[in-house]
Amino acid sequence: MLKIIILLLLIISPSFAYLDPGTGSMLLYFIMGVIATFIYFIKGVYYKVKAFILGGKIDKGLRDLEGIDILFYSEGGNYWNVFLPVIEALETMQIKSAYYTASTDDPGLETSFQFLRSRFIGNDLSAFTLLNHIKVKVMVMTTPQLDIMHLKRSKYVNHYVHLIHAPTDALIYKKFAFDYFDSVMCSGLHQIESIRLLEIKRNLPVKVLFKTGLTYYDVMSKNKEKYLKEKDKIVVLIAPTWGSNGMLEKFDITFIKVLLDEDYEVILRPHPQMYVSQKELMTGIEKELKVYTNLTIDTNISGEESMGKADILISDVSGIIFDFMFVFEKPVVVIESKLEKGGLEAEDVEKEIWESMMIRKHTISVNHDSIISLPEIIRDTLVSENIIDMRKIRDESLFNFAIAGNVAAKQIIEIIGR
């Protein structure tokens, strides 16, 4: 097409014939450049206009946090346990902070903390409009990709902190997850390594990387005792992840039936997203397994109760594996699955993803052929329980287990002090 345009240009205007080889290639270059720029420009304008229209007005009362230096931003109630230990620690130190959430049913909105101001700021683009102009010294959040998508850095914020809310590798995040934060509160050494590699690769300024730990483990480890109950049967927790990679999609459910037939107590805890995007599959499974009385389907927001009850976890690659190992210190069986790097940070760095390493070293892997023999595998694993020293692995992979909230609070205060 371009060639035709150039040819036309040449024929229409004979003066274009005054082109030497260098100039000729420049002409081509110019036309391509103009077209590319035009498309890029139009797109940019479109998204900006969209954000502007949907963005709404800024509530000045929400924007100016006078007297408060710390703002926590949460995308919703499921992150409350991530922030809670930090907020508790600040409360005991009598330091004021604010908690803005994008969800109305966030438990953070109904607390009795004296030094916390919690507010709902909307769950659409208007929340971003506010946050993009917010005035505060330090902003702490679990949302990645600052300054990439609609959530931009505000001119009036001195320091942006990302509070990591999963033990997973930084490389399994989507692109540019931490690039424009000033600091990241990491849960383990593997995250620090990955982030540094990305910094070098992308020639980014060096961030402050804190050895913080996982704050929600503070909460989880406290609650753990509640659920540890005596029982007569072996309890198996099956927690598949959603999407085409999940085991329920990949394999038929015969392996669950085998477990149920062997008289194991089975808790099936599908990923909440499965009821949204794979509804048909779920209703089919529920119908098929209805006859079994030794099966429970867990749809609670928190999986803690199920994890407490279970003796062993069967999962694919999912965050729950590490909660089960680190907090509940119980063994995990992982059904064969592969981590896709496509579109993720891992794509840009030559490094084995931490999850892959952990699964390879510290879990029992089951592949497609041996899935039918799960009952035996589980029995063997539980018998030889002591082989895997969960605490040792935890100490290697995680900072400040069960006290991360306090550490994080001190680190935030350190940032303000700078």
Partner: protein, 947 residues
């Protein structure tokens, strides 16, 4: 399209033509001139070429680095997410897709050069028939081998070879494109003139050598092999060094030298033989230009300064400033310039200014540490001042109005003003804070861009102007309120855009502005009137003698035969009717005259009629447009040569008084140059010429300002005939500036002093601005009292009557054929010959030109040896019959096709045109309306609209 050409191509073409003609002057051979042109243009383009190459490679390097990341993102994401991710990558590499366009800016700058070369050389008349080596005719295709053109083939071979060397670095598809391009050139240029092909072949040879040298120096290879390396900057080092070497050869330094040589050349060319090189006008202008050139030069070089010297010069400058202010406004009368030679003062001022500027500049540079910002600032302001003080006034000066003021009066003043302005802005700049400097620069660039935009691109046609008043009052001169608001908004948007562009693309803007400045500068230098022939003032005895000589010729009649034509501009037939009724006494002197009543004008303004009144109906607007072989200027020139070609060989003395539109007229024709008003009224009443000239200079600047300002502010410059001149005295001067005084004086001088001592037969064609607006001749024949079109109508005929009496007294009346004619009528004149209902065209923008007042001009003819009271004839006549009537005096007539309508009964149809003056450079006359009339013009049935 024409405007685009005028703005972008014409200046370059002009420059190229100057180089070509300059080279021709040196080599006396157009072949070599074309080769020199090619080399010069290529040297000028070379840095642009390298700049563009460098940008392009820089862009390519970044793109190749981003490529993998972007393709990964494109594979996994789409829509908004993809866009935001790609945006992030661009941010990290500090890349903008526009930078690939920026990489092509250098190329874009070259395009106008291509067009200019094509436009210049494909139709360059002097090339016709020029032999160069084996080329038999540079103006035609070469046909070297039978009918085959060899030059295009050589050109293509060179092109292919050049491409072969260049493509080593290119991808396959790019290679194919280049070969395809070479092939297309061959087809497109195959049958073009060999001059053009010579130029283009030379370009390709130049390009070939460039590529070979590049390759020898391993410039390209080193650049491209390092493309993949991480530290991009290092790979540019080579080209940077190369570029520096070329930088010595280029804009603006080279251009400065070129302009300097051009200026010198002009001066030598016109002045060497006069022996007044040192203190003449040209040397002053040269001094001033050198100052501007040095300004440019200093702006692009770092200079050290001496502070104490600076303060000394500053004091001197202040002293000079006070002196000038005092002289202009006469506050203290400390020093009267009258007692000093004006030229000496100018030279002294120049020296002071030169030093001041030098110091001002170096001071600014000193404070700045880097000179780039000051350069942008000063380049902007030189351009702005040049445009306002020189370029626009020169363009306006050439555009019709009659000026007492000459180039020699206003160009030194403008240049001086320019230099003072520069000194002042530089000084302000040097004492401003950094933010203010940025602001000044931004404002300067903004005002300059707008000025250029409004001067050359957004030109609204306000119709003709008559003595600084727009004739056309029927159309809305200015914009409506909603248009005003729209314009203001657009201008604000433009300002914001400019601020943005200036912030990120300062270097490019700077280079573009330097180009603009050089264009303006070369235009000013070329048009500084070095070869101008002015209206000479009667001053010293030498000039007085020259004037006396001229007067002798102008006033002398032959006892043998004379033809005397009075062309009374804008005399309406209706007014003649009225004068005939009310002032019968006037016509007692008009013995033997026939007054033609049924006359249709050939055109309804001077521009549409005058050519055929000199050359007959071969030179009506329509006839001239139908001949497209030569330029408009050539055609008009021919019209003015019809009479001289026929009469001069028969030993007639010809005098053309005040011929309209300055074209080349036969050198043997006497064209009075002196201001007769000065001479005639000088005895009775002193006309202060310098006051008029000052006024005219101010008017030129006002017009320039009017051109520059946005539409919504134009009415604050000009409002309903008022140019913001406050008192009535100045309005009077506005009238006083009319060349009419000179014309009225001529009639008086003729009456009082005509002689009969011409040895040759005489033909006098007197074009008089009477009763043309503005009207200043009162009923007593004075130039100050109340007047009107009608008063001037009868005063002019009365005065002519007195001249007739003088002719009778001197006994040459019977030997003189006299024609009194007008080129058209004027607006709102009653004419009782037309029925009340007669209305040819609606009273619109141009329609009013077809009103009764316009279409019926006057025509009175007296042949040799006639007598008796004035008679009236209803024979259908046209004012374009004048040439044939004149030529009937000669036995063989002139080289015109017209048939004498008086001696023959013709059943004819006459044309009437209204056309627009678009300047001489237009290709043809723009006809607005065209009518035809037959038999009786006073009957509307006989009129037919053609266009």
């Amino acid at each position: 399209m024409h405007t685009l050409y005028m703005v972008f191509i014409y200046p370059l073409e002009f420059l190229m033509q100057s180089i070509l003609e300059f080279s021709y002057a040196i080599t006396d051979n157009y072949g070599w001139a074309i080769i020199i042109l090619s080399i010069v243009v290529n040297i000028i383009l070379l840095p642009l070429y390298y700049m563009a190459e460098r940008w392009k490679f820089k862009d390519q390097i970044i793109q190749s680095k981003m490529k993998i990341e972007i393709s990964n993102i494109k594979r996994h994401y789409k829509g908004q997410e993809r866009h935001f991710y790609i945006q992030t990558i661009y941010r990290r590499y500090a890349y903008h897709p526009l930078s690939s366009v920026k990489a092509s800016v250098g190329f874009l700058i070259q395009i106008p050069f291509f067009f200019a070369a094509f436009h210049l050389l494909s139709n360059f008349e002097p090339l016709n028939g020029v032999v160069f080596g084996i080329l038999k005719d540079l103006g035609a295709a070469d046909h070297l081998l039978y009918d085959i053109n060899i030059l295009p083939i050589i050109m293509t071979l060179v092109n292919l070879l050049s491409a072969y060397i260049y493509i080593e670095f290119l991808s396959k598809s790019e290679k194919v494109q280049l070969f395809a391009l070479a092939f297309i050139f061959l087809i497109v240029l195959y049958s073009e003139s060999s001059g053009l092909l010579l130029y283009w072949t030379m370009n390709n040879i130049f390009s070939l050598f460039k590529n070979i040298i590049e390759k020898k120096l391993n410039l390209g290879t080193s650049l491209r092999t390092k493309m993949g390396s991480i530290f991009v900057k290092k790979s540019w080092m080579n080209i940077e060094r190369f570029n520096q070497a070329y930088h010595m050869l280029i804009v603006p330094q080279w251009f400065i030298i070129f302009l300097f040589i051009l200026t010198l050349d002009r001066i030598f060319h016109f002045n060497l033989d006069k022996g007044n090189l040192l203190f003449g006008y040209e040397s002053i202008v040269l001094f001033l230009y050198i100052n501007i050139l040095f300004f440019l030069h200093y702006a692009s070089n770092t200079v050290h300064i001496n502070r104490s010297f600076f303060s000394f010069i500053l004091l001197l400058f202040v002293a000079v400033l006070i002196l000038i202010i005092d002289t202009v406004f006469g506050i203290f009368n400390l020093f009267s310039l009258k007692y000093l030679q004006e030229n000496t003062i100018i030279i002294l001022l120049t020296i002071f200014l030169f030093l001041t500027i030098r110091i001002g500049v170096s001071k600014a540079i000193f404070l700045e540490k880097t000179y780039t910002s000051y350069r942008l600032f000063i380049v902007t302001f030189i351009s702005l001042f040049l445009l306002f003080l020189l370029v626009n006034p020169i363009l306006l000066y050439g555009d019709g109005e009659d000026f007492l003021l000459t180039y020699k009066d206003f160009i030194p003043k403008s240049l001086l003003g320019l230099l003072m302005g520069l000194g002042i802005v530089s000084f302000i700049y040097s004492i401003s804070s950094k933010n203010l400097r940025v602001l000044f620069t931004l404002l300067g660039v903004y005002i300059l861009s707008l000025s250029i935009l409004y001067s050359f691109v957004l030109v609204k046609d306000y119709g003709l102007m008559d003595h600084f008043v727009f004739i056309d009052t029927s159309s809305t001169l200015f914009v409506t309120t909603s248009q005003k608001y729209l314009e203001v908004v657009l201008l604000l948007v433009f300002f914001v855009l400019l601020a943005f562009v200036l912030r990120y693309y300062k270097a490019i803007i700077e280079k573009i502005l330097i180009m603009v400045l050089l264009m303006l500068l070369s235009f000013s230098i070329i048009n500084s009137g070095f070869n101008e022939k002015d209206n000479k003032e009667v001053g010293n005895t030498e000039e007085l003698r020259a004037f006396q000589n001229e007067l002798n010729t102008t006033l002398a009649f032959s006892k043998d035969k004379n033809v005397l034509i009075f062309l009374l501009d804008a005399y309406s037939g209706g007014d003649l009717e009225k004068v005939l009724k009310e002032r019968k006494d006037i016509f007692k002197n008009y013995e033997g005259f026939v007054r033609y009543r049924n006359v249709a004008t050939i055109g309804t303004n001077t521009w549409s009629s005058i050519h055929s009144m000199f050359g007959g109906r071969q030179f009506t607007n329509g006839a001239m447009n139908s001949r497209d072989s030569v330029s408009l200027q050539e055609k008009i020139k021919k019209a003015y040569h019809i009479l001289s070609n026929a009469f001069i060989p028969k030993e007639w003395d010809l005098t053309f008084f005040h011929p309209a539109y300055s074209v080349d007229i036969d050198k043997k024709v006497n064209i009075p140059k002196f201001n007769y008003g000065n001479y005639y009224l000088g005895n009775k009443k002193k006309i202060n010429d310098s006051e008029i000239k000052n006024f005219e200079a101010i008017m030129l600047l006002k017009l320039s300002l009017f051109k520059i300002v946005p539409f919504f502010r134009k009415d604050s410059v000009y409002n309903n005939g008022n140019w913001g001149l406050k008192n009535a005295a100045k309005r009077k001067k506005l009238k006083g500036i009319s060349s009419k005084i000179s014309h009225w004086a001529l009639l008086n001088i003729l009456e009082e002093s005509l002689t009969t001592n011409s040895r040759h037969k005489t033909l006098k064609y007197l074009h008089l601005q009477m009763p043309h607006y503005p009207n200043i001749i009162d009923k007593n024949g004075e130039t100050e009292g109340p007047s009107s079109v009608y008063i001037e109508s009868y005063k002019s005929l009365e005065k002519i009557g007195e001249i007739l009496l003088s002719l009778k007294k001197k006994k040459v009346y019977d030997q003189t054929k006299i024609i009194i004619v007008s080129d058209h009528g004027t607006v709102n004149r009653e004419n009782t010959n037309f029925p009340k209902s007669f209305n040819l065209a609606p009273n619109t923008r141009y329609g009013y030109r077809m009103q009764n007042g316009y279409i019926n001009p006057i025509l009175l003819i007296k042949d040799f040896d006639t007598s008796g009271a004035i008679k009236t004839s209803d024979r259908l006549m046209s004012n374009s019959d004048v040439p044939v009537v004149i030529c009937s005096v000669l036995e063989n007539g002139c080289d015109i096709d017209d048939i004498d309508p008086i001696k023959n009964d013709l059943n004819r149809t006459l044309d009437v045109f209204t056309s627009k003056y678009n300047g001489m450079s237009a290709n043809e006359i723009e006809i607005i309306m065209h009518y035809q009339v037959k038999e009786n013009i006073f009957d509307i049935k006989n009129w037919k609209r053609i266009k």
